[in-house]
């Protein structure tokens, strides 16, 4: 079965450092991976999408990589700020439908001032 695994332990870092979150998937490489941010009591908010043929994608302080050999995506936040503290979810399509997503359990990021 297709799975998405994220580090369930919280990641604590100091303000200004780079946060790196990991998303591992099983079985065949998906056509794309998506990353979402979820704040407490709110719905997930889309951040970035990276396609299978893209090695890296950037958006402001965010960077996502996609390594089909390692079956892994890394999500980086550079110059992290306390406002970046949230849960970050990785998602992949599955079941042959490219808009049907399976989500990881998310990684809680806490940026300390």
């Amino acid at each position: 079965s297709q799975k998405i695994e994220q580090n369930s332990e919280a990641l604590n870092i100091q303000e200004g450092k780079t946060a790196t979150l990991t998303c591992n998937y099983t079985n065949y490489s998906p056509a794309y991976l998506q990353w979402y941010r979820q704040d407490p009591g709110r719905g997930p908010v889309f951040l970035l999408l990276i396609r299978e043929n893209e090695k890296e994608k950037r958006k402001e302080r965010l960077k996502v990589t996609f390594d089909t050999t390692l079956k892994q995506s890394l999500f980086h936040i550079t110059a992290s700020q306390p406002a970046d503290s949230a849960t970050y979810l990785c998602a992949r399509p599955y079941g042959g439908a490219t808009n049907k997503l399976i989500f990881g359990t998310g990684t809680l990021l806490a940026v300390q001032p």
Binding site: P44, A97, N99, K100
Partner: protein, 113 residues
């Protein structure tokens, strides 16, 4: 301007009752979804509708019945509520084409006593 809205925000009810959650999107999207997020924060798809037609139905008990009166609305009716139904339910929408991100509502926290 709220993109995806849900009502109610909180729902507390007794076991055995029937309840409904409503969802509306003003993004002009063709596809809408219902997700369940359990106490461990695992976000799992339940249903998806495209232009009022059911396209995804993920082994959800038939006590759960989605209804889409038009493509901007997707409601979720739950019969004979059970303790295990307690969770946060999120509605989402997307344009339905490949790779497009999903826009989530604020969630409905359902507590069954």
């Amino acid at each position: 301007d709220t993109a995806v809205s849900q009502t109610p925000k909180y729902l507390v009810t007794q076991m055995g009752n029937d309840k409904s959650i409503k969802c509306e999107q003003n993004l002009g999207h063709d596809t809408m979804y219902w997700y369940k997020q359990d106490s461990k924060k695992f976000l799992k798809i339940m249903f998806s509708y495209n232009n009022k037609e059911l396209i995804i139905n993920e082994t959800v008990p038939n006590r759960f019945s989605p209804k889409s009166p038009d493509k901007a609305h997707l409601n979720l009716h739950i019969n004979s509520l059970e303790l295990g139904d307690s969770a946060v339910y999120f509605c989402a929408s997307s344009s339905g084409t490949d790779y497009n991100e999903q826009f989530f509502g604020p969630g409905t926290r359902l507590t069954v006593l």
